[in-house]
Amino acid sequence: MRRFILPVALLLGSGASLLVGLAAGQEHDTKAVNDSAASAKTSIQHDEDSDRVEGERRFHANCGRCHQTPHKFPPRMMATIVRHMRVRATITDEDMRLILKYMTQ
């Protein structure tokens, strides 16, 4: 009986260490994935913020060229108005995109 104790103990020990290692690895992987997702989320958030700041700047620069800066309209109306102003005031495609994004947030 005693001769089985050592192998069983070794087996259990190695199994336990394997499980702990796997769990640790999984935790590490999960953490890495979480870190990566958080990093991507932060990056997207950063892009969103910089787009919003740039959109606001272009909104004031372009719309203020002719009239007082207007209030925000509902998004689907805003899309029509910005398309109209793109034609009327010959604002650029990039300006239109950023202004629309700012005005519909």
């Binding site: 620069a61 009239h67 899309a79 029509t80 793109r86």
Partner: protein
């Protein structure tokens, strides 16, 4: 035989050059679109940026002004509906009509006011956004000469309610053309934008759709950093005496302060002249800031010099004029307007007189589609 062959080669070369000129920008635009499509960042289409896409809308410019010219009051109510109908991602139908009455005391009567309703189709056009650099427009459009006619004309936009003296130069009998137009705006460097418009208009004598037969172009450079724009316009009349006209425009909104400075110069055989306007919003006033932030003060100086051919819609004599105005914004689209101006002219041009203006301007905007007003 040799001449015919040479002419054929020249035609082929011209066709090839035209094809290259048309295809290269399209291919470049397409490659840019593809790269933007691969980029998970900002969306390019206004439909994609809003769930459900753009909806038709109605925006109405309303004004009720009273002009006191040389001691005579003119009541001038005006309604100007704008209808915008987007189609798909690249099309837009847009129109603006103006209905106005100039009510003035009838000569010989005991103060009874009389006036006629004037109707005008300012524009009724179909726009096709071909690529980021080009929009093709057909129909009736505002003549792109200078900046006032196209951008500053609506009653809720203009800072002073009277038209500049030189406005009729090159904008035709109604300020509009009937035909086709190519226009657009694009960046040539991160801080330099170019905008352009070129058009051909045919003769139309049917009121309220009248227009001259003419061709012309306008180009401008906009510097977003200092917010400066300058440019020039040219028009060649394709009827009567086939005369030319040209003009220059300038606009500056210095970023740190709420000041608008705009100016235009125009010259044709009907006359020449300029206007310079400055408008300052008192939102940065160090005193009474809460009360004054809605107040705007405006000043305009202008001069008109007669040309070799008389145009009845232009002053009949050399004219100088200055105007000073105060506007109060209840909201960005609702305001009280007032101004005082003094005109200096020979009797043929209306003589010396004071011009006072009092009024209200309002611009409501509503969706013409169910659900279009949802936030």
């Amino acid at each position: 035989m040799q001449g015919v062959r040479m002419a054929q080669w020249k035609s082929l070369a011209a066709l090839g050059a035209l094809a290259v000129a048309l295809l290269v920008p399209s291919c470049y635009a397409q490659s840019q679109d593809s790269s933007q499509a691969a980029d998970p960042g900002p969306q390019t289409s206004d439909s994609a940026a809003t769930s459900g896409g753009p909806v038709p809308i109605l925006s109405v410019g309303l004004a009720d002004n009273t002009f006191f010219e040389g001691g005579t009051a003119h009541l001038h109510p005006l309604v100007s509906p704008v209808v915008l109908i987007p189609l798909g991602d690249n099309w837009l139908i847009e129109s603006r009509d103006t209905f106005e009455i100039d009510l003035a005391p009838e000569p010989g009567s005991d103060g009874a006011y009389k006036g006629y309703l004037q109707k005008e189709v300012d524009y009724l056009q179909l726009d096709y956004i071909a690529n980021p650099y080009l929009t093709v427009t057909v129909g009736r459009f505002l003549t792109p000469f200078g900046i006032f006619n196209e951008r500053l004309y609506p009653v809720w936009v203009r800072d002073l309610q009277s038209d500049p003296l030189i406005l009729p130069i090159s904008t035709g009998p109604s300020g509009a053309g009937t035909g086709a137009m190519l226009r657009g705006g694009f960046n040539v460097a991160p801080s330099v934008e170019i905008n352009y418009a070129t058009y051909f208009s045919t003769l139309s004598t049917d009121t309220p759709l009248d227009s001259d037969r003419a061709a012309g172009a306008r180009a401008g450079i906009y510097l977003p950093g200092p917010r400066v724009e300058f440019g020039g316009s040219f028009q060649h009349l394709l009827q009567d005496d086939h005369s030319n006209a040209f003009g220059f425009h300038f606009a500056w909104q210095p970023p740190p302060i709420p000041l608008d400075i705009r100016a235009e110069y125009a010259r044709s055989h009907n006359g020449s002249g300029y206007w310079v306007e400055a408008a300052y919003r008192l939102s940065q006033s160090p005193v009474w800031q809460h009360a004054l932030r809605r107040v705007q003060v405006v000043g305009r100086m202008q001069q008109f010099l007669t040309g070799t051919v008389v145009d009845p819609v232009l002053p009949g004599a050399n004219t100088n004029m200055f105007e000073f105005g105060i506007n109060y914004y209840f909201r960005d689209h609702f305001r009280f307007v007032s101004s005082y101006g003094r005109q200096f002219a020979a009797p043929a041009g209306g003589g010396n007189e004071n011009v006072w203006t009092l009024g209200l301007t309002y611009r409501p905007t509503i969706p013409l589609w169910p659900g279009g007003g949802k936030q």
